[in-house]
């Protein structure tokens, strides 16, 4: 039976910025393993590299320059955050002080 091991689940969870408790690792390892094994059956097909289309239609997806856009006022734009300072969003620090 296919299973993702603890290290694999931890790695994927880290990439996805998800916290998975150590108690949950075996559950997700088992479930994801079965799913990955099932979806991996596409490997049995010999395919040519597709000209991958970004949409399912051949329509133009670029926007015109200078299109009018409404803009939210600062108070409105920051209205849903729990953490703001002087009307700005507070984000986690990248550099230590």
């Amino acid at each position: 039976m296919a299973k993702l091991d603890r290290k694999q689940v931890e790695h994927v969870a880290k990439l996805a910025k998800l916290s998975i408790s150590s108690g949950e690792l075996p559950k997700f390892g088992g479930q994801l393993g079965k799913i990955v094994e099932y979806v991996g059956k596409i490997a049995e097909l010999k395919t040519q590299k597709s000209k991958v289309k970004t949409t399912t239609q051949n329509s133009k997806v670029s926007r015109e320059d200078g299109a009018k856009r409404e803009c939210l006022a600062q108070e409105e734009a920051t209205g849903n955050t729990k953490n703001k300072h002087n009307g700005l969003f507070v984000v986690p620090a990248i550099f230590e002080e």
């Binding site: 799913i35 979806v39 097909l45 597709s50």
Partner: protein
């Protein structure tokens, strides 16, 4: 009750919009405790809009309905649709306190057409599910039999229409999430062509497959609504320039070529479902459409392809929920969301991307070609929506992969961007609805509505 009948009643002063809205509110208050279709109710503003609608009808008479084609129609929105000033949760604890600062384009278009919103509807959180059981606000029950799921992810939408709470419920369809719950609840579900209806302001799931649909009780209502929601939107770069037709169905099905994909009637589809859908095909054949078997050979790769591409796009789209600008942070994601994010992240990660994501995009082209080849021979495809009717709560929740396999007859359409219309075609022996779907060529919703309405008329006249 349909849009046309309701508006005729308003015009003839048989009843007022306020009376009708009050009646729907009373029904919701009485019964939704048992169904759990609504997450948020907006009854106060609905009553106010109903009064305004009555004033419009008094001032302008029948002309009011020309200017506002959905005037006085009670509706509700799937809780993936942003509604300015009204809590929008995506049925997830991550957004349990989120109040959008803007509305989705479709919300604005329906409001500007005079529709009256009664509230926001429950669904599988983030659109992830095929039963309604993945909502963080409790599952919705199937109004036909409350021991059974209504389907998903547009669980509340299908249930609300089936229960008579609203005339129209908006929905989404990324892998079958409009058609399957419509089929489980015995109502009509419209999945438009990708790009036909703007996705702006609707919580993204898989951006190359999300389509913005709706659920109604009749084909004509579905057509009337698409006329309002369809059309280019400058806020959505993937919305098409193509002309919006008058979708009101006209004409017979005489001479129309209908294809039955043999892989959609194969082992795994329950006999009662197969028989009911074949009966629907026979009725159309009796109405002088021609029926032939076609083949979609890559059908067995639809689920793997869909789940790899969908989860990859989900992992990207849900990256924004970091708790900085809005929301409670990633710790509030429930199991199904975490599973899909991790599956997508795995599929895109170094060492696995070629085997999973890149290969899936190649196989997607083969699946699209299957449909293109079929449409060289026929005008429309007819097939079941789900291999089974509605199932009982808890039947599939321990087996995520088993739940994913529910999408086998719907997800190919999403990979290919095609339109489809789900219609009820009977009941199982224990009274559960069975549905079938019509699948059309890109932007050929008009043919779907024509066939659908012909089928409705045939099956209604057979019953009377």
């Amino acid at each position: 009750m349909t849009i046309q009948k309701l508006q005729k009643g308003y015009a003839e002063k048989k009843f007022s919009v306020r009376e009708v809205v009050d009646g729907h509110i009373a029904k919701i208050e009485k019964l939704d405790g048992q169904i759990n279709a609504f997450i948020t109710k907006t009854f106060e503003s609905a009553r106010k809009q109903a009064n305004e609608a009555d004033e419009r009808i008094t001032d302008y008479g029948k002309d009011a309905f020309k200017q506002f084609p959905l005037l006085g129609i009670p509706i509700a929105h799937k809780d993936l649709y942003l509604t300015r000033g009204v809590k929008t949760t995506a049925a997830s604890k991550v957004l349990e306190n989120y109040i959008p600062q803007y509305s989705a384009t479709v919300v604005e278009r329906l409001k500007n057409a005079g529709a009256i919103m009664l509230g926001k509807l429950n669904c599988d959180a983030w659109g992830h599910g095929a039963s309604g059981e993945n909502s963080d606000f409790g599952p919705t029950k199937n109004p036909v039999n409350k021991g059974y799921v209504p389907g998903g992810s547009s669980s509340g939408s299908a249930a609300a229409v089936a229960a008579g709470f609203v005339i129209l419920a908006t929905s989404t369809d990324t892998g079958g999430s409009t058609r399957q719950p419509a089929s489980f609840c015995g109502v009509v579900g419209m999945k438009p062509t990708y790009g036909r209806v703007s996705r702006y302001g609707i919580v993204s799931m898989a951006s190359s497959m999300d389509t913005i649909g709706h659920i109604t009780r009749s084909v004509e209502d579905a057509a009337r609504v698409l006329f309002i929601t369809a059309g280019k939107d400058e806020h959505d770069a993937t919305s098409t320039d193509g002309k919006v037709q008058d979708y009101i169905p006209q004409g017979s099905v005489e001479g129309l070529k209908i294809g039955l994909p043999k892989e959609y009637f194969a082992e795994g589809v329950e006999k009662e479902v197969k028989d009911a859908v074949m009966e629907a095909a026979k009725k159309l054949e009796d109405a002088r459409a021609s029926i032939q078997e076609v083949s979609l050979p890559y059908t067995k790769y639809v689920i793997p392809t869909y789940y790899i591409i969908m989860s990859s796009e989900v992992s990207s789209n849900l990256a924004r929920y970091d708790g900085i600008r809005y929301g409670g942070g990633r710790g509030a994601f429930a199991d199904e969301a975490r599973r899909r994010i991790m599956l997508g992240t795995y599929s895109l990660s170094s060492g696995y991307k070629d085997k999973y994501y890149s290969q899936a995009t190649n196989v997607r082209e083969l699946i699209k070609q299957d449909f293109s080849e079929a449409f060289k021979k026929v005008d429309v495809l007819l097939a079941p929506v789900s291999p089974t009717p509605a199932f009982k709560f808890g039947e599939k929740t321990d087996y995520p992969l088993k739940m994913y396999l529910s999408d086998v007859l719907t997800a190919g359409v999403n990979l290919s961007g095609l339109p489809a219309l789900a219609l009820p075609c009977g009941f199982t022996e224990n009274g559960l609805p069975i549905g079938f779907q019509l699948i059309g060529k890109h932007f050929d919703e008009a043919t779907l509505f024509r066939v659908g309405q012909n089928y409705e008329q045939i099956s209604t006249s057979n019953r009377s």
